[in-house]
């Protein structure tokens, strides 16, 4: 069955008729219907509206603005809270060069225990030895004694030896006995001294004191038990703890005491521990090297080779003995040099070097090439000679890729490039080397470029993305607030205007009160209060919109009431009364639609105002809060004097956007008013 479209058929017939009429007559009569084009009121308003150039301009701007902020984010690749990073050159502390003064220890024989306090005191002991010009230092002790020996310059060994106390020489305080006050008895702990008991009975009283008997001075102090006193006297001579070594020992000891050094007697080694006027003499066993200490650091000629501490210990010991050493199956040879030890490998090539000037990356890693280390130390020497604190040098360092990794050639070697380095003396003998390196950092305040059309802000957010999302919120706030205002205003104004009398009076006084309320201060106070209770950003937004709406309805209500007061007296309202339409319908079906034109105009005009208020509050930091973007917060993020001066590319576009939007709303509002009421057009 063929379809039959009545509309199409009628249209065709009309066209046929018209064509015939045109052919027959050729001109239209004055009252011909087709001659007078009748427009609906809506079309008429529209026609008048688009004749207004400024209004059309405003509408176009608004449409663009809406598309930009509501559709833009769907097509724009970045989000409002997306942080951007970049690789960029930063002047960093590249390396640290310093003259080593501290000695580091390496284990030679791990089976030999060394007390921790001895290791900790090594640096100060070595310093003491250097000051005194000693080559050896013994640290005697009961059980184990230690020996520090300078082997070659800047290399010291720490040896342990078994030891035991033989005797004490010189002045030593010896306890003579215990005197008891009860029985007036003196109990001797050494050989009995005649006459001492009587002397003690005469003199001992009080807490402590001294007395003389037979020309010897005795000291007494309170003893452990009550009413007892310990009596002691200073004895000069040699007191043996164990068995006495053979004859002639004392003679040997005397010579040793006068020189203060250790001595050998009958094949045994004795060491002295001089404590003031007393000297303890220990018998010591064979010293066994346990640790080796050096202030040298090891630099390998090939960069990036990491060597174990064992290697260092072996190399140092080999340098001491002048031998070669074997580590991991490879035999190395050491060649001592002035202030350095050079290590040769099996083929006689230079493999590594011990020296006292260490150059390391600032992080402490040993990844720099030997040539660079040498260049830096040469430069530092030059600086020392010239007596300057800072200097600049160019050296080849590994080149970095855009993403911060190091560039390598086909052999896996680093590609080097000439880089300017600045050397600054920080402390005596300590130098910091600065140069530019590519680092991964947050891309803040990037200038406008291809990837970020309006640059990035202080948090590394893309400004254009934030403007889009900010526009959403700013426009949405405007619309919602105006909606609240209008609804409240229409209801209150409608009721007041329709009923009149005391209702009108009451509502109008309420309007007066709300007119009088200072809205900006109240919004600021609200914002500060919400700050105080740390309200969630989205809830803040709601509260803000509600508050703005509540404070803005008075104007709408006043206008609606005025209009309704005059409309109420018109015939069609009499007709609604006569036909008995419900009051609600009379107000909202018959009166309010007549107020619609003015309502639309007033709403459009106030949209701009609300956007300004919202952005002002956000600018002050009292509206929408930071991570959420609105036009106000974007400007707020660069509101400090320096940011404002340097990052105009952020706030100027946003500010212009606010202006443009508000202007557009005002133009459209103006145009609408003129279109609805051409008589009022000025």
């Amino acid at each position: 069955m063929a379809s039959y479209d009545l509309n199409e058929v009628l249209k065709k017939r009309a066209a046929q008729k018209e064509g015939m009429a045109a052919q027959t007559d050729g001109s239209l009569a004055l009252d011909d219907v087709s001659r007078v084009k009748v427009l609906s009121p809506g079309r008429q308003v529209f026609k008048r509206f688009i004749r207004n150039r400024l209004a059309v301009c405003g509408s176009v701007i608004l449409i663009i603005m809406f598309v930009f902020s509501f559709l833009g984010p769907f097509f724009y690749p970045y989000g409002q809270k997306q942080i951007f990073y970049k690789h960029d050159k930063q002047n960093v502390n590249y390396a640290l060069a310093k003259e080593n003064t501290a000695y580091n220890g390496y284990e030679i024989d791990a089976s030999l225990p060394v007390e921790r306090n001895i290791i900790n005191a090594m640096n100060s002991n070595i310093k003491k030895m250097i000051e005194a010009g000693q080559d050896e230092l013994t640290l005697p002790g009961e059980g184990v004694s230690y020996l520090i020996r300078k082997e070659i310059p800047s290399v010291y060994t720490l040896s342990t030896m078994e030891s035991s106390l033989v005797c004490s020489a010189g002045n030593s305080v010896v306890k003579v006995g215990t005197y008891s006050m009860v029985g007036k008895k003196l109990e001797f702990s050494v050989d009995e001294i005649p006459g001492l008991a009587d002397a003690a009975a005469k003199e001992v009283k009080g807490v402590s004191g001294s007395f003389t008997a037979d020309g010897v001075e005795y000291q007494f102090t309170r003893g452990e038990k009550p009413k007892t006193y310990d009596i002691s006297c200073e004895m000069n001579g040699i007191v043996y703890t164990g068995e006495k070594p053979g004859d002639g020992f004392e003679k040997a000891l005397d010579t040793a005491l006068s020189s203060g050094s250790s001595f050998a007697f009958e094949g045994k080694q004795y060491i002295l521990d001089i404590k003031g006027s007393r000297t303890d003499v220990y018998e010591a066993g064979e010293p066994a090297a346990a640790r080796v200490f050096t202030k040298y650091t090891l630099d390998t000629y090939e960069s990036g080779v990491s060597l174990p501490d064992d290697f260092r210990a072996l190399a140092l010991m080999a340098a001491v003995s002048g031998d070669s050493f074997t580590c991991d199956g490879i035999t190395y040879k050491t060649v001592p040099e002035n202030e350095a030890i050079i290590i040769l490998d099996e083929d006689g090539n230079e493999f590594a070097e011990f020296n006292s000037f260490s150059v390391r990356r600032y992080s402490g890693e040993d990844t720099m090439s030997y040539a660079l280390k040498k260049a830096i130390s040469a430069k530092v020497e030059e600086m020392l000679l010239a007596d300057v604190k800072t200097d600049v040098m160019t050296a080849e360092i590994p080149l970095q890729e855009e993403d911060g990794s190091y560039m390598t050639d086909e052999n896996g070697e680093f590609v080097l490039s000439e880089t300017e380095m600045k050397i600054t003396q920080r402390l005596a003998g300590e130098y910091v080397i600065n140069c530019d390196q590519i680092n991964f950092i947050i891309d803040i305040f990037a200038s406008p470029s291809g990837t970020h059309v309006l640059g990035t802000d202080g948090d590394g957010f893309d400004v254009l993305a934030r403007i889009m999302y900010g526009g959403r919120i700013s426009l949405m706030v405007g619309f919602i607030v105006v909606l609240i205002e209008t609804v409240l205003g229409v209801i209150m104004g409608g009721i007041a205007g329709y009923f009149g009398g005391w209702v009108d009076n009451l509502i109008m006084r309420l309007v007066d009160i709300f007119y009088c309320l200072p809205s900006l201060p109240i919004m600021i106070i609200l914002g500060a209060m919400m700050d105080a209770i740390r309200l969630d950003t989205y809830i803040r937004l709601m509260v803000m919109m509600a508050a703005l709406g509540l404070m803005g309805w008075a104007g709408v209500a006043r206008m609606v009431r005025g209009q309704i007061l005059s409309l109420r007296e018109q015939e069609f309202m009499v007709a609604t009364e006569a036909t008995g339409i419900r009051i609600k319908a009379r107000i909202f079906r018959h009166l309010v639609p007549n107020v619609m034109p003015q309502l639309i105009v007033i709403a459009t005009m106030s949209l701009g105002g609300v956007i300004i208020t919202e952005s002002t509050l956000s600018y002050l930091g009292l509206g929408v809060k930071h991570p959420l973007a609105t036009w106000g917060t974007i400007i707020n993020s660069v509101s400090s004097a320096s940011a404002m001066a340097h990052y105009a590319f952020i706030w100027i576009p946003v500010g212009l956007l606010i202006c443009l939007t508000v202007i557009a709303f005002n133009f459209v509002g103006d145009g609408l008013r003129d279109a609805y009421d051409p008589k009022a057009k000025r």
């Binding site: 400024l54 006084r509 007066d512 009160i513 007119y515 009088c516 309320l517 200072p518 900006l520 201060p521 109240i522 600021i524 106070i525 609200l526 500060a528 209060m529 105080a532 209770i533 701009g608 300004i612 952005s615 002002t616 600018y619 002050l620 400007i635 509101s639 004097a641 404002m644 001066a645 105009a648 706030w651 100027i652 500010g655 606010i658 202006c659 508000v662 202007i663 005002n666 133009f667 000025r682």
Partner: protein, 329 residues
């Protein structure tokens, strides 16, 4: 007339009563324990003369915060009416003294921009109306629209950027230059005046637009009136028509609105003063609001409300005074 005035004043007092009540309710509902926190803070401040308990009792007595809202409000109202506005929390000086210290700067700033506004906006508005639909008219319309649509903070920042940062003519903010103390009396005056230039310009630009539009609209209305046509028909010179017949009638609404805005010269420009750090009442109140300084906020809001009501009253009365056709009843 007198009866009308008295009636209006009474109305205003009632409105003020309720406005202050709303503001008081807002203050009353400040986050919990606010008074306690504030009292503790005030008592622990160096040089504090009162203890925590004393401050708490003081504050509660002052604002009646320990009573119900209505009773508390009446307590506050009573002390306010007897002139006891309390001590400023942020500066610990009497509120009225702080008001006295700041209000004159605001007034001077407001007055200067008010005069500038009148000088610029009214002639421009009249010119635009005289040549309706000309280029001048469109230009004026667009310019006034831009002025209306400009957020204060953006304009202020823009002016700072151009004149302080780029051209270096003015300081970024503040009221005194660096060597203010070494200047002579006249030099000090000039220094402060120089710092007032940008704020005054900002305020003028912001307010110029609406006055310009208002003037233009009223002038157009007058120019379309019958008596102007009559004057022209009589052959009165165009200059006299505009300057004598039309302008004088345009002045009627202008004088009433401008007269109504006179009290607001004292209200201070909150945003502008804050952005330029002018120690006016707007800046002071902004700081008070941020710090939750209830005594000063209450005082300031009461002050502003009074000014608004006063402005309405003045403009209504002026309307009757300027235009003899209007009879108040």
């Amino acid at each position: 007339m007198l009866k009308y005035t008295i009636k209006r004043i009474l109305y205003s007092v009632i409105i003020l009563f309720f406005v202050m009540f709303i503001i008081y309710v807002l203050m009353y509902n400040m986050p919990m324990g606010y008074i306690e926190t504030k009292a503790r803070e005030l008592a622990s401040r160096p040089g504090a003369t009162k203890s925590y308990a004393e401050w708490l009792a003081d504050l509660n007595a002052q604002y009646g915060m320990n009573q119900g809202v209505v009773k508390g409000y009446l307590t506050w109202l009573k002390s306010a009416l007897t002139g006891n506005w309390g001590d400023n929390w942020a500066w610990t000086i009497p509120v009225t003294q702080e008001f006295h210290n700041t209000v004159w700067y605001s007034f001077i700033l407001g007055l200067v921009s008010f005069i500038l506004e009148i000088i610029i906006a009214i002639p421009l508005g009249i010119t635009a109306a005289k040549k309706q639909y000309s280029f001048t008219d469109y230009f004026t319309t667009v310019v006034s629209m831009i002025c209306i649509s400009m957020p204060t903070f953006f304009l202020a920042t823009l002016l700072k950027y151009i004149f302080s940062v780029k051209l270096g003519w003015f300081d970024l903010s503040g009221m005194q230059g660096r060597d203010y103390m070494n200047l002579s009396e006249f030099g000090k005056f000039l220094d402060v005046a120089k710092h007032f230039v940008l704020p005054a310009v900002t305020l003028t630009i912001i307010s110029i637009g609406s006055l310009m539009r208002y003037t233009r609209t009223n002038m157009l209305e007058v120019l379309n009136a019958d008596y102007i046509r009559t004057a022209r028909a009589k052959g009165v010179p165009e200059k006299r028509v505009i300057n004598y017949h039309a302008f004088r009638n345009t002045l009627i609404p202008l004088v009433t609105t401008l007269g109504g805005s006179l009290p607001h010269l004292f209200a201070g420009a909150l945003i502008t003063e804050t952005l330029f750090s002018i120690r006016g009442i707007g800046f002071a109140s902004y700081n008070s609001m941020i710090q939750g300084d209830i005594p000063f906020i209450m005082f300031y809001l009461a002050f502003i409300s009074i000014l608004t009501l006063l402005g309405n009253l003045i403009s209504d009365l002026l309307y009757a005074v300027v235009d003899p056709r209007v009879r108040l009843s």
